[in-house]
Amino acid sequence: METFREILDPGFLLRNSVYVGLLVGLACPLVGTYVIMRRWIFTGVALPQVSSLGIAFAFALHTWLGISHFEGSEQGLALAGSVTATILAILLLAFMERRGKGIVEGRIGTLYALGGAWSVLLLLKNPYGEHGLLDRLKGEIIAVSDSDLIISGSAFAVVLLLLFFFHKELLLVSFDREMAITLKKNVLLWDIILYLIVGITISVAVLSVGPLVTFGFLIIPALAAHSISRSMRQFAIISATIGLLTAFFGFALAYKYDLPVGPTDVALLGVILALVFLGNQLKGLLSPNRNA
């Protein structure tokens, strides 16, 4: 209880880290429901890596061009790199998928491997790589400035508003694109809007909590929620609830036991997924229709 009281105190030194964690815990699982429904799970693994590559590349470019680093420019630079790389990658994957040639998983796997490898190489050859960047990419949610929080909060607010207002169109295009065409909907435009929602969410989340935690929050809450939900509304609400609770209790656990926040969150999500799985198995065993 003492830990919770401390974390919830408005004067808590790491309060921005708690807030950014909660934002990621809310937005990523909601976007994750579409990632699951559109069966973009592999893409969900690869894009955070590409986003990291974008951040690393932006910092390397900064160094190569001989521009001196100062605190105010870093966040904007990282955000630009992250968003550009993610959006480019998602549009490229979508374009190649539409052409219908080659193996989809092969392309995504290659993107994942190359994104991860080049991120490390660029960071190792960057004199500023060790200075915060590696921590950022490892999911150490500690130093979150007010400006970081405002940028993340604004981006996630846009994502949530788009999801709320255009839920009907995004669902139609995802469920039955042929029907959408016969209803004269601009399917390409709605697909691009969904790609942008996924891309922005991943970019901003990677910037705040790193690729591992982003992927964890994108997929695991939605997977757990999917197996216990009866409707799309429940699916969205349960996913977001799991994300929010994990972000809060994960931070509390990490703070109390001096653990890195990101990996603690993901481990906690794993426990929740396992509990949901066991609960479903138990329900199946106790179901009266089991032997019918």
Binding site: K168, E169, F175, M232
Partner: protein, 239 residues
């Protein structure tokens, strides 16, 4: 194009990319017609249907619908029921109410009148009791009737169906076809891809038979007579 024609296809070629599946298709469908689209697997039935619907672009030729009261006709489409991903946790009602997206602007909530319309269409297809059931958990025949309800909820001027009775048992086929017979009797023209010759003979008025990359059109009594079937099959097999 005659006064009575609803849809005219002129020298239409269909296919994917550079691959032509059908070419030189000249077909005219009349108002209030019930037409079956027949042909062997891979003959281009579904591709032709999707081209008419605007889902697949035509490779050449023209597709012309007669305007309905000065506007473009609304096309009600019933796809193959296997096309849907079971990941979506949608109830039958939610599937049917999607039809309102054609009339309700982006970002706006679906009004009560549209929800009422969806309920009426479920009732029309005898699926009111399935409204709250998850769509992915329905049987083939139930899904098919819910999809017909969704197509009706678009307030269509023309109903196009892709293999609506494929894989259904006799009872389910009867239920689906009775629904189609009722809506056709109410004045809705229908174009249906179907393999089932007894069903086509019983319900359809005209047939478009695809063979060797061409389309034959005629009344059911002519095209599905024993002699004519043998003639067409001989052409197809080269016997």
């Amino acid at each position: 194009m005659s006064d009575q024609s609803f849809l005219t296809l002129t020298d239409l070629s269909v296919g994917y990319g550079r691959k032509v599946i059908l070419s030189g298709v000249n077909v005219e469908l009349e108002m209030r017609s019930f037409t079956a689209l027949l042909g062997p697997n891979g003959s281009g039935k579904s591709t032709l249907l999707k081209t008419i619907l605007g889902i697949t672009p035509p490779l050449a030729g023209k597709i012309r619908f007669s305007p309905i009261q000065g506007r473009e006709p609304v096309l009600g489409y019933v796809p193959q029921r296997e096309a849907f991903d079971t990941t979506f946790l949608l109830s039958s009602f939610e599937v049917v109410v999607m039809a309102a997206c054609g009339r309700v602007g982006a970002g706006r909530r679906i009004p009560k009148a549209e929800k009422q319309r969806a309920r009426e269409c479920l009732a029309q297809t005898g699926t009111s009791d399935l409204a709250a059931r998850r769509f992915s958990e329905l049987s083939g025949g139930q899904k098919q009737r819910v999809l017909i309800a969704r197509a009706l909820a678009t307030k269509p001027d023309f109903l196009l169906l892709d293999e609506p009775t494929s894989g259904l048992d006799a009872g389910a086929v009867q239920l689906v076809m009775d629904v189609l017979k009722t809506v056709h009797s109410a004045g809705l023209p229908i174009l249906m891809v179907n393999h089932d010759l007894p069903v086509v003979r019983r319900y359809a008025q005209t047939v478009i038979w695809l063979h060797n990359g061409e389309a034959l059109q005629g009344p059911v009594a002519d095209l599905l007579s024993r002699d004519r079937i043998e003639e067409v099959l001989k052409i197809e097999t080269g016997a």
